[in-house]
Symmetry: C3
Subunit: 212 residues, 3 copies
């Protein structure tokens, strides 16, 4: 039993780290495309990786932030940026983007679940908890794009991204209200969110467009 | 007396709801012009309607936010966005913009008064209270424009907008310091702010330009 | 001794005021270049001068803000904006930019030291304290550029700016951990940050560029 527990913890840690790295890489590549310098690259990677959770904690008035409690993630992002500047080239970008789609989908699910979990713990109403899940999962990318002077991709590419997190968030809230164990709600939220996102990527789903 | 009181409450609720709807609609139309998808439309409408008050509460460190205490407004904005996507067309935009100018002017006054009121309640100095009124009334639009990758209209169109809220804010503070009843300060602030804004719209007032 | 103390205080106040004015002027000129109106000019000047410290206090959850405790600085920035609109012309800009480089470098050092100091006082880990120093010194300019719809200069001009603050911040933390007196850490941080910035300006240092 002990073994399964610690195996689960290790798995979760691995998923979390690869998801955070995927988010940071997305920031890093956008910064590179905009020809930012090393300072800009680090800031945008940091915003993409931790901006969503930080904004959620600001809104919920919770401290310490994740990256204050675990300062090693700051060094991790810095190291990732240093490695990227040394080894990543523009011709690798398309490949990298493909490669991070899956950890990114997992990360979206995991970050959403974390956000809903924190908000429910702060006694927020259901719809606000789902919103906080969305903020955690999606607003890192939004801040990344705003700093890079772009309209956020999540708001204009007509691909289901926030919508998947929205669905997953409600799954979490529903299971929580049905008194399901925490890990069931967590796993269900990640599976639904990442699953929908994966399906959307695979089947090329598009959100209905605004008619002129 | 009871009747007048409840009549006043109903009136205030009506003004508040139509003002919030006007702010949300302004966000919605800007999002549509930028061809955002449904996620972007909802976020920008939400930011335009509640961004100013939320930023004020963040700065004053006050919780819960308005939209946490009244989650039905979240559903209201979502519903408005859904209706707009179904029924609003680009050719209706000019008409809608004309139609929302007046509830928007009322909203500017009301939001400013609310901001000043909250800041005075948090024991802020007079000039900071006026500033918080400005933030509440104006920064929803500022955040809306920043997300849409525009320089905020309020900062560049040379039309008196924030300036009206600035004047109205001082009226509130002055009456409050003269120990006038709360509703007098509120009504005077709304009348001055919305009145000046209305005059500015009607007479086409412009702020003095920066000389080259 | 008393005399030296008060002489030091006066000097520090002078440095602080000229640094704040330099930051505000940088905002003012960017606003003028973007042809913002008087409202935009005041907001951008305010953001450039106080945005970094305000963001730091939001992240550290500290109140009151500097400009709430010292409301006279609000009037100062307003007065500076009024004077600038009356007397500054576009042809003066290049000269003004040269003239503010040195108080700006001093300000970068001083703001960084203040940020590190606040963060250490709030019991933050060393790397977070340095980060808060960076936020205080650099993010006023970042917010200024974001409102003006530009990619922040600090992230793309390949000039050492945040990097100088990063070095200075570590000097502060190192001396503080070695139990040096507070004023030694402060002065050393300012000297290292402003000195490196001055050297970078003088020798035209550039950050290594991202290779394609």
């Amino acid at each position: 039993m002990q073994g399964i527990q610690s195996w689960g913890d290790t798995l979760r840690l691995l998923v979390e780290l690869s998801a955070t790295a995927a988010f940071a890489l997305s920031g890093l590549m956008e910064a590179a495309r905009k020809k930012l310098d090393i300072v800009g690259i680090c800031v945008v990677a940091f915003l993409a990786a931790f901006g969503g959770g930080t904004l959620r904690d600001l809104l919920l008035d919770q401290r310490p932030f994740f990256w204050v409690q675990h300062v090693e993630v700051l060094w991790g992002v810095l190291g990732l940026c240093a490695l990227a500047v040394l080894f990543l080239r523009h011709r690798h970008f398309e490949l990298t983007e493909k490669a991070i789609q899956w950890p990114d989908a997992l990360g979206l699910g995991l970050f959403t679940a974390t956000g809903v979990h924190h908000a429910l713990g702060a006694l927020m109403p259901a719809v606000v908890a789902v919103l906080m899940g969305l903020v955690t999962g999606v607003f890192g990318g939004v801040l990344r794009d705003m700093v890079c002077n772009e309209i956020p991709t999540a708001f204009r590419d007509h691909q289901p991204y926030a919508v998947c997190a929205f669905a997953g968030g409600w799954v979490y809230v529903g299971l929580w209200q049905a008194d399901a164990p925490g890990w069931v709600a967590l796993v269900a939220c990640v599976v639904v969110t990442a699953g929908l996102r994966g399906l959307a990527l695979w089947r090329n789903w598009a959100l209905p467009a605004w008619r002129a």
